[in-house]
């Protein structure tokens, strides 16, 4: 994670409203995220919850500045699109769970779960 990636003006302003992972656990959380997402992501970072939260926010912030968010969307709508896109991007049939921010090796992870 390089410095310029986290310092976008759009992001610093909006960052405060990125929902924390624990808000995404409930079915009725208001965001269409895959069921496995929040817990899988926290689980993946298990010994470091704060890091999971930070990686999540940083990743959403990156997605916020892409065309996964409608060009005219702003505020809560933009955040929701970014949150949903970020989770949808990660929860893949074959690779999930993984974290683009901490580059963990996929095999180590699945091995450590037994």
């Amino acid at each position: 994670m390089s410095e310029q990636e986290t310092a976008s003006p759009r992001m610093t302003r909006l960052r405060v409203t990125i929902p924390p992972l624990k808000d995404l656990v409930y079915e009725q959380c208001g965001y269409a995220v895959p069921a496995t997402f929040a817990c899988g992501f926290v689980d993946l970072h298990l010994d470091d919850w704060e890091r999971a939260e930070r990686d999540w926010e940083n990743f959403v912030a990156l997605v916020l500045d892409t065309d996964a968010v409608h060009p005219r969307a702003s505020g809560g709508v933009a955040i929701r699109q970014a949150v949903e896109a970020a989770a949808a991007f990660l929860v893949d049939d074959e690779l999930w769970p993984w974290c683009p921010m901490c580059k963990l090796d996929a095999d180590d992870r699945t091995g450590g779960d037994r």
Partner: protein, 372 residues
């Protein structure tokens, strides 16, 4: 400032490509492309945005391509079968991952509360079903006391006494029901379900109306007994006797039974929603068998999430987390800045075992964090 007004979004696809490349250097370009196709379709599905414009294909075509890609991927990487978990597996998983306990805590405790509410309502329903309202009507008794032969008076006196005893018994049961509903309301308040709260409140109102109405009848029946006892003239048209309202008692009892049924249905819905949420939490390790989530396993889960003996919680953000009932040992590692408060809020309950007292709550509610 002006740079912020004109938004020039980067490409989601390019971002994804870069991140996949960094995380999985061994992944070949074709697999990366397939991943991105799938991801872009998922994003489109989830948000309705079109980060796929660059593909110059209709959504249906893209989805078809993605499906083909997915099939290829599946044949190359057969899926592992999904484990079916029993509650014990979840408890074992939590045992290995103590920080997960703090994440699962509110759900598990709410779930156990919901089961308690259902159990209480079942008891209340059973009790309401056995409340027997004495059948004989007091005005009828008064009538036969004054119009029947003198010899019938003794028999009527006996009936009036029986009626009074029956009313007392019914009243005691109704009071027990009222208390049980009270405890269900306490439990349910943490579940914050409007239907459940309304059902319970109705049940309590009906129980209290029934109690009052039985109480009034009891007083009036007592008056009749005393009048008979003392040989006073008994007149069936005496207003007080006419007020003995057995039909009203029955109506209250029916309403009580109905609202217990309503509350129970609401509690059952809460239970099912929470069970689904718990199952979702552990989807990553397998599919939780919801049928096995019974009273006993809920109790075991409740104990598991409260047991933080020896857990290393230094990395956990405790802001806004309700820790009431958590048990910990000197080996438990708390975040440094919480240590003093946890010490202050805990009591020694056994050999090297501490429990966080009722009402203790980590302070400083953070705007970002809903209570766990």
């Amino acid at each position: 400032m002006s740079a912020d007004l004109v938004r020039a979004p980067g490409s989601f696809r390019q971002l994804g490509e870069r991140l996949l490349g960094e995380s999985f250097p061994a992944m070949d370009a074709e697999d990366v492309d397939r991943y991105l196709d799938r991801a872009v379709a998922r994003v489109h599905e989830a948000t309705g945005t079109e980060p796929l414009q660059r593909l110059r294909a209709s959504r249906a075509e893209v989805l078809e391509l993605v499906e083909i890609g997915r099939e290829d991927f599946r044949s190359a990487h057969p899926r592992r079968p999904v484990a079916v978990l029993a509650p014990d597996d979840v408890i074992a998983h939590l045992g290995r991952r103590p920080t997960m306990k703090l994440l699962a805590r509110k759900l598990v405790l709410d779930f156990a509360d919901a089961l308690d509410v259902i159990r209480t309502l079942d008891e209340v329903g059973d009790a309401a079903a056995v409340i027997e309202l004495p059948a004989a009507g007091t005005p009828d008794l008064a009538l036969s006391a004054c119009s029947g032969p003198a010899a019938a008076r003794d028999r009527v006196r006996g009936l009036a006494a029986e009626l009074a005893t029956g009313l007392t018994a019914a009243r005691n049961l109704v009071r027990a029901v009222d208390l049980a509903i009270d405890s269900a309301i306490d439990l349910a308040s943490s579940l914050r379900d409007r239907n459940l709260a309304r059902g319970l409140a109705d049940a309590r109102t009906s129980a209290r109306c029934l109690d009052q109405s039985l109480g009034l009848d009891h007083v009036l029946t007592g008056d009749l007994s005393r009048d008979l006892e003392r040989g006073r003239p008994v007149r069936p048209d005496r207003p007080a006797y006419a007020e003995i309202d057995r039909a009203g008692d029955r109506a209250h009892l029916r309403r009580l039974a109905d609202s217990v049924v309503v509350a129970r249905a609401a509690a059952q819905e809460v239970r099912e929603a929470l069970a689904r949420d718990i199952a979702r939490m552990f989807l990553r390790i397998g599919r939780l068998n919801l049928d096995r989530l019974d009273d006993e396993s809920a109790e075991a889960l409740r104990e598991a999430v409260n047991d933080l003996r020896g857990a290393d919680l230094r990395s956990v953000n405790l802001v806004g987390v309700d820790l009431e009932g958590v048990r910990w040992s000197p080996a438990t590692r708390w975040p440094d800045d919480w240590r003093a408060q946890i010490d202050r809020d805990s009591v020694l309950i056994g050999d090297g075992l501490f429990e966080v007292r009722a009402g203790a709550r980590t302070a400083g509610t953070h705007l970002l964090l809903a209570p766990l």
